[in-house]
Symmetry: C2
Subunit: 248 residues, 2 copies
């Protein structure tokens, strides 16, 4: 038995999210079904760095699974593509020690959130960017984001459904930059709570639009009340971009 | 009754092409159904600059229709968006003289064809660019394209199913340029035969790959044999980009 680590990309549009569920098409479900076929029906369990919600995309999700097949790592993407639907692509596969775990070994994650700020909606972007028709004051968003960088209790920036007790996380980097008609939010941290990136983006957009004062971010963080932060930005603008492990 | 000209965009992925048909979802079908609803059930016929095949996109298709509704032109896009699916967007609407005809008044059309030349396929591009994994010699494609510019009988560059007798067309411009990982073919002409742009692109790709000699293009044109030109490039890389009329 050897353990394989794989970096994958998927278009979240037609999935009910990453995690397998009794009804509905999921990324994990498709991955496991492809691997079960390659393993002639023996069940293979796939572990990911974390779940993504329905509509959320991945440019660099990481998974691991164990196998007894004698396929060289560089041939694995081809083998899996014969069984996978076109909206999941295997970017790379490598052998890792059995101590590696796609979820528990994560040391850093990067998400990107894409906002379409072109004058009008682009039909080809409708599943891949969030169309935001309001004028944004980027300077005040830059002020606001500074309060979020660093180690904080992010209780006000996660879904009230979050069950994890410890809501302290560290954001290492939070960049906001424009690429043609797309405003990109790039967030790098040691871990993220449920909906955290989408609430951060929703809050920064509210700041940019003038609905929340940039300097209120410190109070919003301190008071730990989800109601004070902005709306959760929609799923289809969000990309799990990169996952970093210790030995990478 | 007044005549309205409208520029529209659509994502061709989930359509069986532009033209209405008894079964299958079409752009014309959706447009007419939206307009019929706005006209309280009276049937409205929509005329386009031309058809597009299943999977082909439009960034600037032009249509016209007649209406007795008293909606100012600038409000029409909003009205139509309330009835249209998200994969068709109305970019603009203007009133035109009743002599205007979306198909018969065309003086020039522009198509673009996008080829993904990145090292590996991008899952987010799979419906919007044609993934071409082979190395291309752009210099020989530049030589080849020169033979196509100008007025020629394009019999070898149209589907053998083409029923139109006169196969002489003029190509004014044929540009090939790179935008990040996308090789764009931009073709401007006075009119195009069935599959003409896709066969031109397929042929130029065969030249770039070394399967057809660039200087053979003159013979291929002269002999008028579809078999000698390259393969028809797939639909999902093609965009009807712009349609020009006399008074624009």
């Amino acid at each position: 038995m050897k353990r394989l680590k794989s970096t994958i990309a998927y278009d979240g549009t037609n999935f009910e999210g990453y995690q397998i569920q009794p009804n509905g098409r999921t990324v994990q479900g498709e991955l496991q079904s492809a691997l079960n076929q390659l393993h002639k029906g023996s069940k293979v369990k796939v572990y990911a760095s974390g779940r993504t919600d329905a509509g959320v995309h991945a440019a660099g999700q990481v998974i691991h699974f164990d196998t007894n097949l004698h396929i060289p790592p560089e041939k694995w993407p081809y083998a899996m593509h014969t069984k996978l639907p076109a909206d999941i692509r295997i970017l790379s596969v490598e052998e890792v020690p059995s101590s590696f775990h796609a979820r528990f070994s994560v040391v850093q994650k990067e998400y990107r959130y894409k906002v379409w700020i072109g004058e009008r909606q682009d039909v080809f972007q409708r599943h891949y960017t969030y169309f935001y028709p309001f004028k944004l004051n980027i300077a005040s968003m830059e002020v606001a984001k500074q309060y979020l960088i660093g180690t904080h209790d992010f209780t006000s920036f996660c879904s009230s459904k979050t069950e994890i007790e410890d809501k302290v996380r560290t954001i290492y980097e939070l960049d906001i930059y424009e690429e043609e008609n797309v405003l990109v939010f790039r967030v790098v941290g040691n871990g993220f709570l449920y909906n955290m990136v989408r609430i951060i983006v929703g809050t920064l957009l509210d700041v940019g639009r003038g609905k929340i004062n940039a300097n209120n971010l410190t109070t919003i963080l301190k008071e730990g009340n989800r109601e004070q932060a902005g709306k959760t930005a929609p799923a289809h603008g969000l990309y799990l971009w990169n996952v970093v492990y210790n030995d990478n």
